[in-house]
Amino acid sequence: MSAMPGVVAVNTFREAVRDRVLYNLVVFALVMIGASILVGQVSIGIDRLVIINLGLSAISLIGLVMAVFIGVGLVYKEIEKRTLYSLLAKPVRRWEFLIGKYFGLLLTLAVNTSFMTLGLAGALYYVGRPFVRSDVTVLVAAYFILLELALVTAIALLFSCFSSPILSTLFTLTIYVTGIFANDIREFGNLTHNRMMEAITRFLYYVVPNFHNFDAIGAAGHGDFVPFTLIWQNTLYAVLYATLVLTGAAAVFARRNLK
């Protein structure tokens, strides 16, 4: 593989920084500071829990908004601005461009998530206690959020290859919400006691990306241990699924008529 995907990735990251995307960290910092100060005043016995739940939910939500709204414009914007043509005139294959775009946004999300996790750790320290061993679960939960964002970015990029940003956003969010309800879809099929329905819902369960896998916020709040097996299984699932989606995206983009 050539070095082109790396060059595209670095440029995508630089572009995101230039677009002041990382300014969301200020919002996150303000939310965490506000929560750290206020939570003890308005509730009972959940200071640490709120900081973890609020912090991880904010990391997830901000990351999701970034992954979707930046992801759906990754390819579309290049076509609209006609910058893609000059880029493809160089020795860059279409799939390399896509991979570069994908990893560029993923790098932005990883940097963003890392800073927010650091902020969360600071807020946790502020609410008054030294770190304990179970706090490692907070890092695991943040890692799971990043895996989730990696999948969402791949899906957004896929739609960005053939659809407008508005429709791509709609499609991506629909798949995201469906993925959260993946377990319920299968349960629903089982409840019907209809073989056909059970087969359809089971099929959907495996086809739709299961975002429920990456939900470790509750476990982090209560300091539960997350088995290492689950960490690598989730990693493998995210890698496999993202590769699958990116392969689809590359296939679509390769056939797209850019004239």
């Binding site: 009972i44 016995g45 959940i46 739940n53 609020l54 939910s57 959260i180 309800f181 939900d215 509750g218």
Partner: protein, 294 residues
């Protein structure tokens, strides 16, 4: 546009924005006044189904549980001690909170207090408090403190001593439970309702929590129980005095003079006990200790 024109617009904005904000604030105040009566009558909850909210939370159920728990605390806090206040939405708020996060132990523990305290301090619904803590135990069988709370409800609120003893005994078997749980189970089984047993339970409650409000309430009860114990002892001495001198003592000083006491007895807050016209010992009217109502 000239620089002068820009500057004029800037100055106008500086003046206009605060004025418009003040006007908007005024109008909002009027809207609040207009809708206040309606808002007060409205139910606190739109969604009463925890499972539905859990689905709608899109994976953010732990955060939503924290928000609902805070709502429950605020709801209770706004009504505590208010005459004729009702706690109608409190069970639903606690139910939603614990459905969203079944492991939020604090919601079961404090929720049980909010529900079981008699009106106007709480909802006066010990039955619902018992249900809540039982659900808490089912979801968190490793939390001996929940057994402690359930045992307390059976003992103090329902006076169901066999159930209380059984609950403390079950809790004593949970990993990490202190030995005193077993001791309390034995004490209640042997002598449920006695001051000694009650004192042991409140002492354990005082020791097992870090929350200042619960500690304060437990300390208050401990003082009441001490006063009750003192009064029982004083009443025995008054009987002895009456048998010896064929009259009631006018004050506890008479008991000292008669050689029945080494000094004037005082309650846990330092106020001397008084002897009433009924010939029984009582707390000083200035003492803030409450007569216990077991």
């Amino acid at each position: 546009m000239s620089r002068f024109a820009h500057s004029r617009i800037g100055w106008k904005a500086v003046v206009a924005i605060p004025l418009l904000l003040a006007a908007a604030t005024f109008v909002q105040g009027r809207i609040d006044a207009e809708t206040h009566a309606q808002a007060a009558e409205q139910e606190e909850l739109i969604f009463r189904s925890g499972p539905l909210l859990k689905k709608l939370s899109l994976g953010y159920d732990p955060l939503l549980a924290d928000i609902y728990w805070t709502r429950a605390v605020q709801y209770y806090g706004a009504r505590i001690g208010v005459q004729n206040a009702t706690f109608g939405s409190l069970p639903a708020l606690l139910d939603i909170t614990t459905t969203l996060d079944p492991r939020l132990v604090v919601a079961y523990r404090f929720g049980a207090i909010f529900l079981s305290e008699p009106e106007p301090i709480g909802a006066g619904r010990t039955d619902l408090a018992v249900d809540l803590v039982k659900r808490g135990i089912a979801a968190n069988p490793d939390q001996w403190l929940l057994y402690h709370d359930l045992g307390f409800l059976y003992y103090w609120r329902l006076k169901d001593y066999p159930q209380a003893a059984a609950t403390y005994l079950a809790g004593s078997k949970v990993k990490g439970a202190p030995t005193i749980m077993k001791l309390m189970a034995a004490r209640i089984a042997e002598n449920g309702g006695s001051i000694e047993t009650s004192r042991l339970i409140f002492w354990e409650l005082y020791e097992s929590t870090k929350d200042p409000n619960v500690r304060k309430a437990a300390l208050k009860q401990l003082r009441s129980l001490k006063a009750q114990e003192d009064e029982e002892h004083l009443d025995e001495l008054i009987d002895q005095y009456r048998r010896r001198l064929a009259r009631n003592p006018a004050s506890t000083r008479d008991l000292v003079t008669a050689g029945l006491l080494p000094g004037v007895p005082v309650d846990p807050l330092g106020f001397p006990y008084v002897i009433g016209s009924d010939g029984k010992s009582h707390l000083d009217p200035n003492s803030s200790i409450q007569e216990p109502k077991p």
